[in-house]
């Protein structure tokens, strides 16, 4: 396990090509990971990162090209083969059985597990590994009781339990607090120090610069270059990835906020399990203002959003729009009052994804002119409306009648944003607007949110990406276990560590 760098790579992919019904996802890609190396894989959405890693993990088979392990050719038909050969992957959405305990999840699919489970042995083994890598976890906890960060630890342990030597991490920090990220990087350093290879997929340049040894950028399915991290810069990497110079920052102009538009007072909301998910939350948003809401996913943000647009009933409290009470109103009344919502689950909530672009474009205005026409729908006006959104918001789609599910993530989000923003929303509730988007789409979405702010929208922006919140918000609130931990008036001047502490539930004074 102690081959030096520059010797035979731990794993090498040579000349990988993969096509999906006519679309080339990977073309002649070379990629290798050496022992003890943390190797970042960068690329826009659709650049072929996932395809390449899914090939390495045995989910797809390449049309051309070979994979070598310690210099010897191997073929993976299934992830089981890949794991047996020592290659593991932690997906963005963990593949865990929620109704099982941590230790039961460990042995899922492990071939030589005896029929009667040696519980004690397994638990000891887990304790050993988790102690060694700093992955604290209670082996008998049920997975559904764990936070996202803890679930990620379970997924990591699952791979380490199988003795993998190469670990692929797909955007691992997207779901973590800053503190949890720091701990994850400690684990990663420990692994690489012991000669494991780590592939690290991320959109966050800062992490890539500070935590990796090498970077490979993919562009339109091809390898756009592999460089040592110490010999490059964020700008150079972005250029490699995009094929042209890009600026990453957005410009937030100074604006004086207008009058208070949207007020929430002491609202309490139940979650799906009947537990109070939002407790006694109060805030207000003014015109031309973005209120950021930081917090790790699952701390009541989803329930809060749903309550704010009438999709979830309030236990108590008030919602006021322009001074008018809104609680108890139908979702449609919220829309008519100009309160628009961009949900985080774009396909599951925001779109009827089996229907075409036209049908999805009119979903929030089919009842009024010019789209609605008495009991009928004017499909010509609908198509015109869809066309306008596509042009104004730069959505690329084969035709207006393409089912929405066939759009790429970035285009789907642009269509969704375009639909909501083209209604000139008075209040805009936005959740995870750049989740899973690549650099250029992310930038575009952020610019659109700022444009809406300049046009007078009062925006509540919920995000897990602190950089995003700091770049866009006029004020910042932090949510933890259903409560607001604090409201910061000038977020840019507050140290990140303090926000991180609030996200982890520390009271304001301590932070």
């Amino acid at each position: 396990m102690t081959e030096g760098r520059g010797a035979v790579p731990l794993v090498e992919m040579r000349g990988i090509t993969k096509r999906f019904s006519g679309v080339t996802a990977n073309r002649d890609v070379n990629f290798s990971v050496e022992a003890g190396e943390v190797h970042a894989l960068l690329g826009e959405n659709g650049a072929g990162k996932s395809t390449l890693m899914n090939i390495l993990y045995g989910l797809y088979r390449p049309d051309e090209g070979r994979i070598f392990l310690d210099g010897k050719p191997v073929i993976f038909r299934t992830p089981r083969d890949a794991i047996a050969a020592g290659i593991g992957m932690v997906h963005q959405h963990f593949m865990l059985v929620h109704t099982h305990t941590v230790w039961e999840n460990m042995i899922l699919g492990v071939k030589d597990t005896p029929f009667v489970l040696p519980k004690k042995k397994i638990i000891n083994r887990i304790a050993e590994i988790s102690g060694h890598y700093g992955l604290q976890i209670d082996p008998s906890a049920m997975v559904w009781q764990l936070s996202t960060g803890e679930q990620q630890r379970v997924a990591l342990l699952q791979m380490l339990y199988r003795n993998v030597r190469v670990l692929i991490l797909d955007e691992p920090t997207a779901v973590l607090t800053p503190q949890e990220s720091v701990r994850l990087f400690e684990t990663i350093r420990r692994m690489s120090g012991e000669g494991h290879g780590v592939v690290f997929i991320s959109h966050k340049m800062r992490e890539v610069m500070s935590e990796t040894h090498k970077v490979t950028a993919l562009r339109r399915g091809e390898n756009a270059g592999t460089v040592a991290t110490s010999e490059t810069t964020e700008e150079a990497l972005a250029e490699m990835m995009m094929g042209r110079k890009v600026t990453l920052d957005v410009n937030r102009s100074r604006l004086n906020a207008g009058k208070t538009l949207f007020e929430v007072r002491n609202i309490r909301v139940l979650g799906d399990r009947g537990v109070e998910a939002v407790s006694e939350v109060s805030f207000s948003i003014k015109q031309n203002e973005i209120l950021g809401l930081a917090g790790v996913a699952g701390n009541g943000q989803q329930e809060l959003c749903e309550a704010l647009v009438g999709l979830r009933p309030l236990l108590s409290g008030e919602i006021k729009m322009n001074g008018c009470r809104m609680e108890g109103s139908s979702p449609r009344r919220f829309i008519r009052e100009g309160i628009y919502y961009i949900p985080s689950d774009r396909k599951g909530v925001g779109m009827a994804s089996g229907m075409d672009i036209v049908s999805n474009s009119i979903i929030k205005k089919y009842w009024s002119k010019p789209v609605g026409h008495g009991a009928f729908i004017d499909w010509r006006n609908s198509a015109a409306c869809a066309k306008r959104i596509i042009e104004d918001f730069d959505v690329s789609a084969p035709s207006l009648h393409t089912p929405v599910r066939n759009l790429s993530g970035g285009n789907l989000q642009k269509l969704l944003m375009g639909r909501e923003l083209s209604e000139a929303p008075k209040v805009l509730i936005v959740m995870h607007p750049t989740w899973g988007l690549d650099v250029s789409a992310t930038r575009y979405v952020r610019e659109q949110l700022l444009a809406a702010r300049e046009n007078g929208s009062a925006t509540l922006l919920i995000s897990e990406d602190l950089d995003e919140l700091l770049a866009l918000s006029d004020r910042l609130a932090v949510m933890f276990k259903g409560k607001f931990m604090g409201l910061l008036d000038d977020p840019a001047s507050v140290p990140t560590e303090k926000i991180g502490l609030l996200m982890a539930g520390a009271p304001v004074e301590a932070a």
Binding site: F20, S21, R61, R66, L69, K72, P73, V74, I75, F76, R77, D81, I83, A84, A85, G86, I87, R162, N163, V164, R165, V309, L311, S330, P331, R332, R333, F334, I335, Y341, P343, G348, V349, G350, M351, A352, S353, G354, M355, S359, I363, K364, Y366, W367, G372, A375, F376, I377, W379, P403, N406
Partner: protein, 368 residues
């Protein structure tokens, strides 16, 4: 060497048609094998089916008579299926419609044919609609599975109908047969061209057109399609899923109830035991085979009905059980739904890299 299936993005229309026709013919090949095992030459059996359902003007009219309720009920259920609500209780809803129509004839007889028939139609539609609406309400209010409730309501409807025709409504002059008194003349649907085809045919054509327009052109049809595609997106857009489900179930039941009324007023002119001949279930097959399109269902119902008529002829001429027609229906549904796989996926032979298996054997297990 292995077959691999990969998801196809969009299958063109011609492929839909070709694949469907291809798999229908496969169904007939499989059916032929079945006939062969029964000692019946398949080709002559198929000839009998063709001749008996299309051979003469009379045969043709009988095929139409049987196609009528099939098409109408399939239009009723496809409305629910578009919304992913599984109403399999059209049978019971039709029975209840017939029962309500008979009640109107019994207790409020009218001289005027227009008045009598409209009253019967309204009663039948309301009865069928309420019957289905109950299941719809239970579904959205307490999340009770509508497949179970609609099926159970079928049995209740059957028993209810039997109660009346064996009991209070039995015709004293029927020599003990379980049937109501014949309807008065004003309660009979006029028949056409001296055949048993009745005015229900026009009702069906109007219904098919109206339903096509509702589904494609109206706000309500749009809502139904959005709710069927993604009920969460529908709520998010401010649509009322509760009202949507109950409304669709009511309309679906109303159409089925109206079908039941057409059957009794157009054909028997009275209610007899077991009058519906399981149209409610065959219509489910028709709805799926016609891809939930009201217009297409007219065509599919006609073909299905020719199988029904042909099945009866096979029974008489070749001594095959009547169930053979049902076997054919099942085979066709089975093959056509199977064929959909090829519309959604493209299948190709996967040869793999030349030395694939060896390398795999050698190294895949070696790590870790």
């Amino acid at each position: 060497m292995k077959f691999r299936a990969e998801k196809r993005i969009d299958a063109p229309v011609w492929m839909n048609v070709v694949v469907t026709l291809l798999f229908v013919s496969f169904a007939f090949v499989a059916g032929g094998l079945f006939l062969y095992t029964q000692g019946v030459p398949p080709l002559s059996a198929y000839w009998i089916i063709l001749r008996s359902s299309f051979g003469s003007g009379y045969d043709l009219s009988e095929t139409v008579v049987k196609a009528l309720p099939l098409a109408m009920v399939s239009i009723a259920v496809m409305l629910c299926y578009t919304m992913l609500i599984w109403n399999i209780g059209a049978e019971g809803q039709a029975l209840l419609g017939a029962l309500a129509a008979a009640a109107v004839v019994r207790y409020f007889p009218a001289e005027s044919r227009v008045a009598m028939l409209s009253l019967m139609a309204v009663a039948a539609a309301v009865a069928g609609g309420v019957w289905a609406g109950i299941a719809g309400f239970l579904r959205v209010k307490w999340n009770v599975n509508e497949i179970i409730t609609t099926l159970m309501l079928n049995y209740i409807a059957i028993r209810l109908l039997e109660f009346f025709i064996y009991g209070p409504w039995r015709d004293p002059s029927s020599l003990g047969f379980p049937m109501t008194k014949p309807f008065i003349d004003s309660a009979r649907l006029p028949t056409l061209w001296g055949t048993r085809v009745h005015m229900g045919l026009f009702a069906l054509l109007v219904l098919a057109v109206v339903m096509e327009v509702i589904m494609r052109k109206t706000r309500w049809g749009y809502e139904i399609r959005v709710m069927g595609d993604n009920s969460r997106a529908a709520s998010y857009a401010g649509m009322n899923y509760f009202r949507g489900v109950v409304g669709v179930m009511f309309l679906s039941g109303a159409i089925a109830g109206f079908t039941g009324m057409c059957e009794v007023a157009g054909l028997q002119g009275r209610i007899q035991a077991g009058f519906s001949a399981q149209y409610g279930y065959t219509a489910i097959i028709v709805a799926w085979l016609s891809h939930l399109s009201p217009a297409l269902s007219l065509f599919v119902a006609f073909l299905m009905s020719s199988l029904l008529v042909g099945g009866a002829a096979l029974q008489i001429e070749m001594g095959l059980p009547l169930a053979s027609a049902a076997i054919f229906q099942g085979l066709i549904l089975f093959f056509v739904l199977g064929g959909e796989f090829f519309l959604n996926y493209s299948v190709r032979l996967d040869l793999g890299p030349a030395k694939g298996p060896d390398a795999h054997e050698k190294y895949a297990g070696g790590g870790g």
